[in-house]
């Protein structure tokens, strides 16, 4: 049987929790062979594969994933603080290069201090640097040295989640609150 080009690298990357981005040479192969890969991951491991126009990733069937929760908290606080700072947070996440020092200032002065202090990935400058390395390993951010980073297109997964979450809340504010 003949496998698609970069098959081994595609499987390795996806199984390591990485997002495969459109800028990656493997992405074309993944996208062209989407039906094969969807079946491959479903049949072999029971995982669902999500391929969008500019990234692809595997979905875990485990929902209480701590990393996912940490990433959402990170995005939530960052967006909130950027907005408070008078910035268009979506544009910033899409196009801006972030400095770790500025990120520290947002998190250290945030009104969500209690939530931040109780999260091991976000509670200090050092833990946030480790966290950025984790995000970089998953291709959610691209690190430019130790002090700067930009978000990859993978940010959309989380931003879309926030929008869906809001729609759920907006549709049934009271029911969802109590759930």
């Amino acid at each position: 049987m003949e496998y698609p080009r970069y098959h081994k690298d595609i499987v390795n990357d996806l199984m390591s929790g990485k997002f495969i981005l459109a800028s990656d040479i493997k992405f074309n192969s993944l996208k062209e062979q989407a039906p094969f890969y969807e079946r491959f991951f479903k049949e072999s491991f029971g995982y669902a594969l999500e391929i969008k126009s500019d990234y692809g990733f595997l979905l875990s069937y485990e929902t209480a994933e701590q990393l996912s929760r940490d990433i959402c908290m990170f995005f939530a606080i960052l967006c909130y603080e950027l907005d408070k700072d008078g910035k268009n947070f979506l544009e910033e996440i899409q196009y801006a290069e972030f400095e770790m020092e500025k990120l520290d200032s947002y998190f250290d002065n945030s009104a969500y201090a209690e939530l931040i202090a109780s999260n091991n990935q976000l509670k200090s400058g050092e833990s946030r640097r480790d966290f950025m390395r984790t995000l970089a390993r998953r291709n959610i951010v691209e690190r430019n040295g130790d002090a700067k980073f930009t978000f990859t297109q993978a940010y959309k997964v989380f931003v879309d989640f926030a929008a869906d979450f809001a729609k759920g809340k907006l549709a049934h504010p009271i029911e969802t609150e109590e759930a």
């Binding site: 209480a64 939530l115 926030a162 729609k167």
Partner: protein, 398 residues
């Protein structure tokens, strides 16, 4: 006096927490728990807990209606992080009580120690209550303003501005005046004065008990001043610019604000979870086999040619020393070395020759250089050596 066991009451609170939370919400909304609404709740939840609520003194009767006792109401406020907004004038009253106590402490500093101690204690408690009231109010105001920003209720812009102005005019600005360090009459400024005074007294007061009380108050004040500065910063950065902040609205930000209300309970995007492989898992054998096979190499590799090992000559110093000692005295040591090697191996290899010269450093021999003789030539397998004539004799008693 409460007759029930404390643990029974705590168990009751835990078992019927949801019903109690409903009652808490009713009282927060109406000021009291109306009899009809209580009955309604009991019917919906199916928990007929009224008699226990009264027996355990969690609520008290107020005419036909009911009300939480203050201790329990505050407990629920605290564990739910939902506080009643206090009007700044309610908080302002602490300014009065703190000022009076501080004045009395200074005036009565050299009078009755018992009264002085009591006043310091009261001052401590007043400052604590004040600081807690400010913190609760800031939390409440933050929640209110986030609600406005999130706008789940879908208020139109004018209504949002009206609500924001209400919070700013009646709560945020007056609270900021109380906390503003640049405002001469602010309580924060007063607390700094008190802190300076207490700092001196904790070091130089002659009575040890009072000194310790000053010490405790000082430590607390340092912490309180830090906390108040933080609250003041929140007010300035987050609450005062509220009108400006509610101008923009985004469904994404609404989602995040709602998510941050209870991140531990919220659903999550399904980011892939890497499976850890445990040594006892079913897949371990095949995984380990696959891993090891990556490093398996078919060819046999020798670190050193095994035939070389058998050829390697090892200098047997004891053997050659014994030979030398038997033939002493020697007329020319180096020539003896050459002859011995030739006798044993038919040729003189350089390495072996140099190995034998090490015998010169052995004990029990004396060495004499014959200066009159010319140097001798010794041909080894690789080179020709010019060596001096060394006479070797036995040395010492044998």
């Amino acid at each position: 006096m409460n007759k029930a066991e404390p643990k029974t009451i705590l168990n009751f609170l835990a078992t019927y927490f949801d019903s109690l939370k409903d009652l808490f919400d009713l009282q927060t909304e109406d000021g009291i728990i109306r009899k009809e609404r209580l009955q309604e709740m009991i019917q919906v939840r199916g928990d007929d807990i009224l008699s226990q609520l009264l027996d355990y003194k969690i609520v008290k009767k107020l005419g036909d209606d009911y009300e939480f006792r203050e201790t329990y109401y505050k407990l629920f406020e605290f564990i739910l992080n939902e506080f009643r907004p206090l009007l700044p004038e309610t908080i302002q009253k602490y300014e009065h009580s703190i000022s009076i106590l501080f004045r009395k402490i200074r005036e009565g500093i050299s009078k009755d120690k018992l009264i002085l101690g009591q006043r310091i204690n009261d001052l401590y408690n007043e400052i604590k209550e004040f600081s807690e009231a400010v913190e609760k109010n800031t939390i409440r105001l933050l929640n209110e303003t986030r609600e406005l920003k999130s706008n789940v209720e879908k208020l139109d812009y004018q209504e949002k501005v009206r609500k924001a102005s209400f919070w700013i005019d009646y709560y945020i600005t007056p609270l900021n005046n109380i906390l503003d360090i640049n405002h001469a009459e602010s309580i924060t400024n007063k607390l700094f004065d008190i802190s300076n005074y207490v700092n001196v007294r904790r070091l130089n007061f002659d009575d040890e008990n009072i000194r310790l009380q000053f010490e405790k108050t000082y430590t607390f004040l340092v912490q309180t001043n830090d906390d108040l500065l933080k609250q003041s910063k929140l007010l300035t950065n987050e609450l005062l610019p509220l009108i400006e902040r509610i101008r923009t609205e985004s469904v994404i930000l609404t989602g995040w604000i709602e998510f941050l209300k209870a991140p531990a309970k919220a659903p999550l995007p399904k980011v892939f979870k890497i499976e850890r492989v445990y040594p006892y898992s079913n897949d371990m054998y095949l995984n380990a086999k696959e891993y090891l096979e990556q490093f398996a190499i078919d060819e046999t590799i020798f670190l050193e040619d095994p035939t070389m090992l058998s050829d390697k000559w090892v200098f047997n110093k004891d053997l050659y020393k014994a030979k030398m000692m038997n033939q002493l005295p020697l007329d020319s040591f180096f020539e003896w070395c050459g002859l011995t090697l030739k006798g044993d191996y038919q040729q003189i290899e350089t390495d072996k020759f140099f190995a034998l010269t090490a015998l010169l450093f052995e004990d029990g021999i004396s060495i004499e250089l014959d200066k009159t003789e010319d140097r001798k030539l010794i041909n080894t397998s690789q080179m020709t050596l010019r060596v001096p004539k060394l006479k070797i004799e036995k040395y010492g008693i044998s």
